[in-house]
Amino acid sequence: MSLYYVQKAIYELNRSEEALADWRLDAQAYLADFDLTDEERLALATPDIGLLYVLGVNGQLLMHLAAAAGYEWDAYLNAMREGMRQHGPVREGLYKTVGDGA
């Protein structure tokens, strides 16, 4: 698990139009510079908002990635809930003990 780098990859996307364009063009190429597991890499490339939440990504980062990927607010909240149904409770980070799966 490398939650730090998962969040770093999103932090850069949220801050930089250029990074966002690179991710949209070829997500795997954009992610090549980050130290990620295969699961994390796939979650970021898809993007799988629900799995990213379960992996422990802070919502203050995740909501902007979701918005950039076209998620409306309610769809974003539902994606996190569905992620917990599919993948179980949050595994790491700030939310490990909160949420429906706590």
Binding site: Y4, K8, Y11, Y53, G59, L77, L94, G99
Partner: protein, 274 residues
């Protein structure tokens, strides 16, 4: 004293991004409270507005996370979020680098802070500015308190920051207004978004209005997390303002729990005249 105004308000992005989702009566009260604060700030004729906020990974990340940071630039751009998403148009917010430096030099006698010559404002500052300074006519000095990524500064150190800011304002010949912005209990951007612990919020606001240091600092992060969610860590911004206004008591002009805004929307002001 040259601290001419001290208050607090919410900054939840839903206040602008999902404005239509609040009950009309709640929305009316919230809008009226921000308008009252806007008028109160302008009535004080401030030379600058200090905004103590809790930014959300717009500028600061866990590679180098300051507990406290103060802006020292002549301008700041925002919002960093998509303006259509936040429903706040982009603007270049005026700063005042020389005044920032003057304040920093006094603050740093008491508290170690980072300074920033570049800072992109997120909703934590842009929502209040959009509602309080729509004409972009007062220079802003941003102050950040890390409320997102533990380990966080202990509350007594946040209080010391507020005291140091007060000293810095008093040492300046400028008229300086100050607001703290943040949520009380909230679980933003999570599946629990919309949950609000109103009783916990009201107890905190009662302590804030009494401006009683010992009761304001009588929270552990573990208890805050349990009762107020991860967003509850943002009580730090309110505590810093209380410290800056030590000796004075406050009044809550608005507290409206709005689940669609993911917080109890709050506007409160310290009475610096008595």
């Amino acid at each position: 004293m040259s601290l001419v105004f001290a208050g607090v308000c919410s900054h939840g992005p839903g206040i602008t991004a999902r404005a239509q989702r609040a009950a009309p009566e709640s929305k009316r009260k919230i809008d009226a409270a921000y308008a009252r604060m806007r008028e109160a700030i302008h009535a004080c004729q401030p030379d600058a507005l200090i905004v103590i906020s809790a930014e959300h990974f717009a500028n600061f990340f866990m590679n180098n996370m300051p507990s406290f940071a103060v802006g020292m630039a002549d301008y700041y751009d925002g919002p960093i979020e998509n303006p259509e998403w936040l429903r706040i148009p982009p603007r270049r917010v005026p700063g005042e680098k020389a005044l920032s430096r003057e304040l920093l030099e006094t603050v740093m006698q008491e508290v170690d802070v980072a300074y920033c010559e570049e800072w992109k404002f997120d909703h934590g500052i842009m929502v209040p500015l959009h509602l309080l300074l729509p004409d972009n006519d007062v220079p802003v000095i941003p102050v950040n308190v890390n409320c997102q990524a533990p380990p966080l500064a202990p509350l007594q150190r946040v209080y010391a920051l507020g005291q140091a800011l007060r000293k810095a304002c008093e040492a300046s010949d400028k008229r300086i207004a100050m607001i703290g912005t943040g949520g009380i209990s909230h679980w933003p951007c999570t599946p629990d978004s919309g949950k609000i612990n109103e009783a916990w919020d009201r107890e905190f606001l009662a302590r804030w209005t009494r401006n009683d240091r010992s009761s304001l600092l009588d929270y552990t992060d573990a208890a805050t997390y349990q009762d107020g969610g991860q967003g509850g860590y943002e009580i730090r911004t309110y505590i810093a303002v209380a410290a800056a206004a030590a000796g004075h008591q406050g009044e809550i002009w608005c507290y409206e729990p709005v689940p669609a805004f993911a917080c109890g929307c709050t506007v409160g002001v310290m009475d610096l005249a008595t």
